[in-house]
């Protein structure tokens, strides 16, 4: 479903992502972890076509996001770290706009909009202008918009920021249900507990490189620390000393 093929991205003289190769199959929930500035957001932006790799290719459902962005985008739902809405549109109007842009037939779009409004409990404010929404309300609306077209791949950049505990639960349940149905989720997060609870596999990026790829169990085995929490493993792997220890 998602394929990073030797992807490198540089910012002037700085390398943000170095030779990333990664394949995520259908129905997997993948969590990308790493400290600030490790290259997670750059990776996500390349995946959704906002940034182009300096080298290598990113493919979604077989479509190269640089060469064929429109067909790739038909398969992607994206929840950015900062929700972007039109202040002068109501939540429902925004959902209609997104459905229209994906070319959804009117009757189906109407059904899906009602479905997502119900899922994310948007009913009370769906007909208010977005300028009056709190951060959490905006985030729920963006989630609803990203799932309208039942994407094959859902890309989430820090998805839980601003959500209240009930909304977090709703999102978690939904992600588990959708991945069971075959949707692939690519999620960047700092919430280690969530990654541990939900992710099929995790990737840990440190200073632009994918330092670990596998399950939490595999990470424990690799680091020979059987009963340690993901937090402790993560801190050990991402500590500044770790890089020096592993450097040749």
């Amino acid at each position: 479903m998602i394929e990073f093929d030797h992807v490198t991205r540089t910012y002037a003289t700085k390398t943000a992502v170095a030779d990333l190769s990664l394949a995520i199959p259908r129905g997997e929930l993948f969590a990308l972890l790493g400290p600030n500035g490790a290259g997670k957001t750059t990776t996500i932006r390349m995946l959704v076509g906002l940034l182009r790799p300096s080298r290598g290719a990113v493919r979604v459902c077989g479509y190269d996001v640089v060469k064929d962005p429109r067909h790739a985008h038909l398969h992607i739902g994206y929840v950015p770290d900062e929700p972007c809405l039109y202040d002068k549109l109501t939540g429902r109007e925004f959902l209609w706009f997104i459905a229209d842009m994906f070319g959804m037939p009117r009757h189906l779009a109407g059904q899906r909009i009602d479905r997502e409004i119900e899922h994310f409990e948007l009913g009370d404010f769906a007909d208010d202008l977005a300028e009056s929404y709190s951060l959490g309300m905006k985030q729920r609306l963006v989630f609803a918009a990203s799932l309208l077209h039942d994407p094959d791949v859902l890309v989430l950049d820090e998805p839980m920021v601003g959500l209240d505990p009930r909304s977090v639960r709703i999102v978690k349940d939904l992600l588990q249900q959708r991945t069971r149905e075959g949707m692939t989720v690519f999620m960047s997060t700092h919430t280690l507990a969530m990654a541990e609870e939900m992710a099929d596999r995790i990737g840990i990026m440190v200073r632009s490189q994918l330092r670990f790829l596998g399950t939490v169990t595999e990470l424990r085995e690799q680091m020979a620390l059987e009963s340690t929490s993901l937090e402790q493993l993560y801190l050990r792997l991402t500590s500044p000393l770790a890089g020096r220890e592993t450097a040749p």
């Binding site: 910012y11 906002l50 479509y63 429109r70 398969h75 972007c84 842009m101």
Partner: protein
């Protein structure tokens, strides 16, 4: 195409379908915006409509007088003026559309959303192009329409002229807008490193050319202003704008032809055909350039967007400047918190390019105009009048800055209020620091400009001192109004200074500031003007007797300056005390 097929529920849209959806989006947003304005901002809307109407009517009257005056002078004058006006406008539209499109296509969060949808790059460009075109050319319509209507009325043009005005204006603005947008996209995609340098160079070259044209037009010959020789020399120099390959020439020629429809023997309609040919030329070129811009968008937009973020923001260590340090250490320890706040605002100003660049451009242009004043030869009455008008212009420009940048300052502290709230600083000091910042920042360039204007006009020292006094009063009052109202009506949840200044409080601030400037200048100018008039009319004139003599003398001047001082005091103290009171009780 080797990828997996999407579900039957979704599909890529045709370009027409995409355009229709964007049109629907724009219509919905416009409708909601208008609805909100009618519901919550009626006063602001009424003020905007009223002031725009007044502005339009004043310009119309002014242009009608000017065209009546020019009609008697020379037949080619209008063509020259139209060409000069439209060609300079064309250059400005290239820059303004390019800059607006850069903001809309590369820096907005909307662009980030749209680029992740299955939409063509050229459709997103078309959507943002319409927006940039609207924002860059509404000023042209507001400024150009009274001029063109006045020309039609003076020429007693037939109805086709008035019908063709809007199509001509729209067809014209598309051309420079498309050129500006192409330049913007190409520069972002292929000259990312050179972008800042290229824009700076272009701006510097543009300023140099403008200065050269202005200088060459006025400087060499000190011929009596408004004399026939002066007109002839000026028009000879303006002939550079009469290039037949310029769209500005097509526009002015088409309009002049349209105004001739039905004139001449038998009321010939042949000029209409000529006018329509020029319109067709404008439309065809506009469409071609728009198509080319769309083609460039397809090739360059996504690439440029990605390229733009390839540049790591420069990380420079910024040492504490000696000036900031000296300012912090100067004076008593009790005043140190206030000075620290002042230095903080000064640093933010210096590092915000949008603030100081606008400041520099507007005051720089004004300085350029003042430098050219010496090319004219005036009598005393004109020189005095122009001096006071220049004072009013300086005040009006300062008022736009105080409204746009000073008024939102207190509101912008909203998100940082927890920092200020926890500091051992009295809230009054925060307000006073903004006032001092605004006053000192305003009074230095403004008094220098007024000095330059008076020097170029050759005014005598007493009048110069009167102008400087009024300038200081204006700076005090405008700062008091902006800071006081900003503290009285803060919008602590808003982070955009543009939105804060365009709200009700910002509009009120601009209106009160304009009224204050007008009152100060009229009260100060009256005795001087009467004095010069009574001298011009001679001692036997009836106007030089009684009350008018007193008003035109030292007594009148003293009273007028006293009134100006009182007005300045009221404009400074009243809003400030209101603002201080409200800010002390503010609960963020």
């Amino acid at each position: 195409m080797s990828g997996r097929s999407p579900s039957a529920a979704v599909r890529v849209l045709s370009i027409e379908e995409e355009a229709r959806r964007f049109l629907r989006l724009r219509a919905t947003v416009a409708w909601e915006t208008l609805g909100s304005m009618f519901a919550f901002a009626r006063l602001r809307l009424s003020l905007v409509v009223l002031l725009s109407g007044l502005f339009w009517a004043s310009l119309y009257g002014l242009f009608l007088e000017a065209f009546t005056f020019l009609a008697a002078l020379h037949a080619d004058v209008v063509s020259l003026l139209f060409n000069a006006f439209f060609s300079s406008l064309m250059v400005m539209l290239v820059f303004s559309t390019g800059i607006l499109l850069y903001g809309g296509m590369y820096c907005s969060t909307e662009a980030r959303l749209l680029l992740t949808l299955p939409v063509r790059a050229e459709t997103i460009f078309g959507h943002k192009f319409q927006e940039a075109l609207w924002f860059s050319s509404w000023g042209f319509v507001l400024l150009g329409s009274p001029m063109l209507v006045a020309y039609g009325v003076e020429r007693e043009a037939a109805w086709p002229y008035f019908v063709l005005l809007l199509p001509f204006m729209i067809a014209f603005v598309v051309i420079p807008a498309a050129v500006g947008s192409m330049a913007c996209m190409l520069m972002v995609a292929w000259l990312p490193r050179l972008r800042v340098h290229a824009v700076s160079l272009a701006a510097a070259a543009g300023a140099a050319v403008t200065a050269w044209i202005g200088w060459s037009m006025f400087a060499p010959a000190r011929i009596d202003t408004m004399s026939a020789a002066w007109f002839e020399q000026t028009f000879a120099r303006l002939a550079i704008t009469e290039q037949k390959l310029f769209p500005s020439w097509w526009l002015s020629s088409g309009l002049i032809e349209a105004a001739d429809v039905g004139r001449g023997p038998g009321g010939t309609w042949a000029p209409l055909l000529e006018a329509l040919k020029f319109l067709a030329l404008l439309v065809a070129n506009g469409m071609l350039l728009h198509l080319m811009a769309g083609w460039i968008a397809r090739l360059a937009y996504r690439r440029g967007y990605s390229q733009l973020f390839s540049e790591a923001p420069p990380r420079r260590q910024r040492p504490i400047g000696w000036f900031d340090q000296a300012l912090v250490n100067a004076g008593s320890a009790a005043g140190r918190p206030l000075r620290l706040l002042l230095v903080k605002d000064l640093r933010l100003f210096r590092r915000d390019i949008s603030q100081w660049s606008q400041f520099l451009i507007f005051f720089g242009l004004l300085g350029l105009y003042f430098l050219n004043l010496r090319s004219f030869v005036y009598n005393n009455v004109y020189a005095s009048m122009i001096g006071f008008l220049n004072l009013a212009v300086v005040g009006l420009i300062l008022s736009t800055f105080t409204t746009r940048f000073v008024y939102p300052m207190i509101s912008l502290e909203g998100r940082r209020f927890w920092i200020l709230g926890l500091l051992p600083v009295h809230r009054d000091q925060i307000v006073w620091s903004k006032f001092l910042f605004s006053f000192v920042g305003g009074v230095i360039p403004c008094s220098a400009l007024v000095l330059l204007s008076d020097w170029m006009l050759g005014l005598r020292t007493p009048l110069l001192l009167v102008h400087e006094f009024c300038c200081v009063i204006l700076c005090l009052g405008l700062s008091g109004i902006a800071v006081g109202l900003g503290a009285r009506m803060p919008e602590l949840r808003e982070s955009s200074p543009a939105k804060i200044s365009s709200g009700f409080g910002g509009t009120l601030c601009l209106v009160i500031s304009s009224l204050f400037i007008m009152l100060v200048v009229i009260i100060a100018a009256l005795p001087t003007h009467l004095f010069l008039l009574t001298h011009a009319l001679g001692p036997t004139a009836a106007a030089s007797q009684g009350l008018l003599t007193w008003a035109a003398g030292a007594g009148g001047m003293a009273v007028s300056l006293g009134l100006v001082a009182l007005l300045g005091l009221a404009a400074t103290a009243m809003p400030l005390s209101m603002g201080l009171r409200a800010f002390r009780q503010l609960e963020p």
